[in-house]
Structure formats: structure tokens, C-alpha cells
């Protein structure tokens, strides 16, 4: 279970300045497809612990960050590396799709 929740306040230190790649799940409680993705994100967090940081950002409570990265649809899964967003996956997708992307980013 990923209990890592990013906020507008922690985004810089937790995501942008992270030494490992970070996956951010932009979500909100009123979004059905976000509920589909949420447990998948939790599983990924457990599987890739120590290799990649995985967390969630509630767009309702953190409008500044979601606005900054031009989020217009949720769920949006954004991959950050060295402080830069390098890939965005919009809409609920399969765990395999997310894993494929992660493996690529990790250079496996």
C-alpha cells in the first residue's frame, strides 16, 4: 500500500528533488477511473520499493501542482526524472502498461 501522498507543499522536495525516479498518480475521490487505478499504483509502489518512488497527488486539495503540469483529465500518471516530467499516461490503464513504462525508465 502506497501511503505516500504528495502535496503542493512537498512536491518540490519529494518529487522534483528526488534522487530516484518518481511516479505521481494525479487523482480525486470523485473520479471512478481513479479508483480503478489506485490499487494498481499501490501494488507498483510495493513491487518497486527502493527503485522508484510511487505516490499520489489529490488534485482537489493541490490545485497548484496539477495546474502547473497541465493536468486536464484524471487519472493522469506522470513519470518524473531529475525534476522533469518525462512521460504522462492519461486514463486508467493495465498494470502491465505501467510496468512496461517503469522498466523503460529504469533502463531494464
Amino acid at each position: 500500500m502506497s501511503d505516500l501522498n504528495f502535496t503542493d507543499q512537498t512536491f518540490k522536495s519529494e518529487v522534483l528533488e528526488s534522487s530516484e525516479p518518481v511516479i505521481v498518480d494525479f487523482w480525486a475521490p470523485w473520479c471512478g477511473p481513479c479508483r480503478i487505478v489506485s490499487p494498481i499504483i499501490d501494488e507498483l509502489a510495493a513491487e518497486y520499493a527502493g527503485k522508484i518512488k510511487v505516490g499520489k497527488l489529490n488534485v482537489d486539495e493541490n490545485p497548484q501542482t496539477s495546474g502547473q503540469y497541465g493536468i486536464m483529465s484524471i487519472p493522469s500518471i506522470v513519470f518524473f526524472k531529475n525534476g522533469q516530467p518525462i512521460r504522462t499516461m492519461i486514463g486508467a490503464q493495465s498494470k502491465e502498461n505501467y510496468k512496461k513504462e517503469i522498466e523503460e525508465i529504469l533502463g531494464n
Binding site: 470523485w30 471512478g32 496539477s66 486508467a92
Partner: protein
């Protein structure tokens, strides 16, 4: 070997699973990655009986799923790929796995029909949406359009009024399929405007939506309208194309005969993939129940 394989996890599929498991039939439900069907893309469902104050669509689907699981349905969140109905047992493939079932209930529902105009596809999620409850939040103080004239178009527009500055419903006719109560709500809302007899022919913008080209069907006049968001609600396409050997009508809806049977013995159908008339959560659930009872009867007759 399963007694029943149900393909689809909307109200039809999950209701079917509740009935087959309670009949002690070994049941596999192939739910799809985006399980829960169209109700996952809604907010308050006010016409599903039993919920006096309404229920959130995603909450309703989560409850239905838990109910099916409680009675032993095996639910896999994998996408259906192909089925071989040429001879029993039927083979159903999903992603990398294959399964065998003595009977099958097709409950794959229907997916958003997009406008299919230039500029649309690449901007899905970048201003083009089919889910106002998910995405309306990102259009605070902005101008958006909703395309369509049915209940879902009215609902999308009403959801958007909580955030957007102005919502214009663009509809190709001057009559509406929407129910009177939904149409009245939309018409009464000061944020909602209507452009009738008109179609969106192009979505404009580079990285995200900046406007649309609209053609008036009566005058053939084309105009441009600057907007930040486009919510598409022009209907749905039945998810029937992957089923080889199953008869469909000219619009792709699976043909049904004699109580939810398809043209293949032992393959049943329920919900929006065959229903071109009602398309309600409660009718889909009813169809799912009926198909499950028919499958149960068919299995007991065939196993003697």
C-alpha cells in the same frame, strides 16, 4: 473449467455473476482493466431503484462487485481479447490467459462514441473528454462545449456548471432524446446555452484544445468558436466486434432471440451490447439476471 464465463463488469455482467454464483455455478467474470462499465464515468445516479437519495455511480459498481465476490465469483481485471465459440467448451482469451467455459454470457456493454473529426483523437485528455465528472474540475472558469442531445449530454453539461464559466450544448438536431426532467434542468441553468442543428467538424489547438469548427446543418455555414474543453456525449458503440460468429445487427448490437440467447447455443447476451432501446443501468441489471437464469437452465438441460 468454468460453468459460466461472463465477459463484462457493468450492471449486466455483475448482476449475472450474482445470480450464477448463487445458483452454485462456477463463475469467472472477465472484468476488463477499466472494470465497472459506464457508471464509473458518472456521478449521482438518481434512477436506480433502492437509493432514495441517489447513489454515486462508482459506489454502485463497487457494491455490485463486492456482492458478486461475496458469493464466490472469480473476477479478473483483465481485458477480453478473443473467444472461440466454434465448439463447446468455449474458449475465452484475455490478455495472456485463456479460459474454458461450458457457457458464456456476453455483457461487454458499449463504449464512448467519439466525434471522429480531425484534431479530436490526439487531444483526448487534453481538453477532449467523455467524462465530465472526472474532468470538469480542470475547467474552472473556462468555456466548454458538450456535444450531444441525450440524457448523458445534459448530465455532462449540468456537472460542468459547477466549474465552467459557460457551457454550450451543441446538438445536430433541434429535437432532443433527453428525458424531459434532464432537459428542463439544463434549460433552466443560466450557465448552459444551446446551439442546435449544428455539428462539430474539427477540433482546433496544438497541444490542447483551443476551439472548434462548427457547421450549421441547415445553412452549411461554418464558424469557429474558441473553447477550452469538449465533452463528447453523442452515444455509444456496442462492444461486439471481437466476437466471431455471433450475429449482430447493422449497428453492431448483438442479435437476441428467445430469452437472451445468441445464435450460438450456450452463448447468452445481456446489457448495452444488445440493447439499443433502453440503455439503463437497471435494465442492464435485469438483462444480466435473465441471461444468468437462462444459462443456468441451459446448463442443467445439457448436463441431464
Amino acid at each position: 473449467m468454468y460453468d459460466v464465463i461472463i465477459i463484462g463488469s457493468g450492471p449486466a455482467g455483475l448482476t449475472a455473476a450474482i445470480y450464477t454464483t448463487r445458483a452454485n455455478l462456477k463463475t469467472l467474470l472477465i472484468a476488463g482493466v477499466k472494470w465497472g462499465g459506464q457508471l464509473q464515468l458518472t456521478t449521482l445516479v438518481e434512477n436506480y431503484p433502492g437509493f432514495a437519495e441517489g447513489i454515486q455511480g462508482p459506489d454502485l459498481m463497487t457494491a455490485m462487485r463486492k456482492q458478486a465476490e461475496r458469493f464466490g465469483a472469480e473476477i479478473k481485471d483483465v481485458d477480453f481479447k478473443t473467444a472461440d465459440f466454434s465448439k463447446p467448451p468455449f474458449k475465452v482469451s484475455a490478455d495472456i490467459e485463456s479460459f474454458e467455459g461450458k457457457s458464456v454470457i456476453i455483457a461487454t456493454g458499449a463504449d464512448t462514441k467519439w466525434l471522429d473529426v480531425p484534431g479530436e483523437k490526439e487531444k483526448i485528455g487534453r481538453g477532449v473528454s467523455s467524462c465530465a465528472p472526472c474532468d470538469a474540475f480542470f475547467f474552472k472558469g473556462k468555456n466548454v462545449i458538450v456535444v450531444g442531445g441525450g440524457d448523458s449530454a445534459m448530465e455532462e453539461a449540468l456537472v460542468l456548471t459547477k466549474f465552467a464559466k459557460e457551457i454550450t450544448i451543441i446538438h445536430r438536431r433541434d429535437e432532443f432524446k433527453a428525458s424531459q426532467i434532464m432537459l428542463d434542468r439544463a434549460k433552466k441553468n443560466p450557465k448552459i446555452k444551446f446551439i442546435l442543428n449544428s455539428e462539430v467538424i474539427e477540433v482546433l489547438g496544438q497541444d490542447k484544445v483551443s476551439g472548434v469548427k462548427i457547421k450549421n446543418n441547415k445553412t452549411n455555414q461554418v464558424s469557429e468558436m474558441p473553447v477550452d474543453g469538449i465533452f463528447v456525449a453523442i452515444g455509444h458503440i456496442p462492444n461486439s466486434s471481437a466476437f466471431k460468429g455471433i450475429d449482430v445487427d447493422e449497428k453492431g448490437f448483438i442479435k437476441v432471440s428467445d430469452h437472451y440467447k445468441t445464435n450460438i447455443d450456450g452463448v447468452f447476451v445481456a446489457g448495452d451490447v444488445h440493447d439499443n432501446h433502453y440503455k439503463q443501468a437497471v435494465t442492464a441489471a435485469g438483462f444480466g439476471c435473465s441471461a444468468a437464469l437462462e444459462a443456468e437452465r441451459w446448463l442443467s438441460n445439457n448436463e441431464g
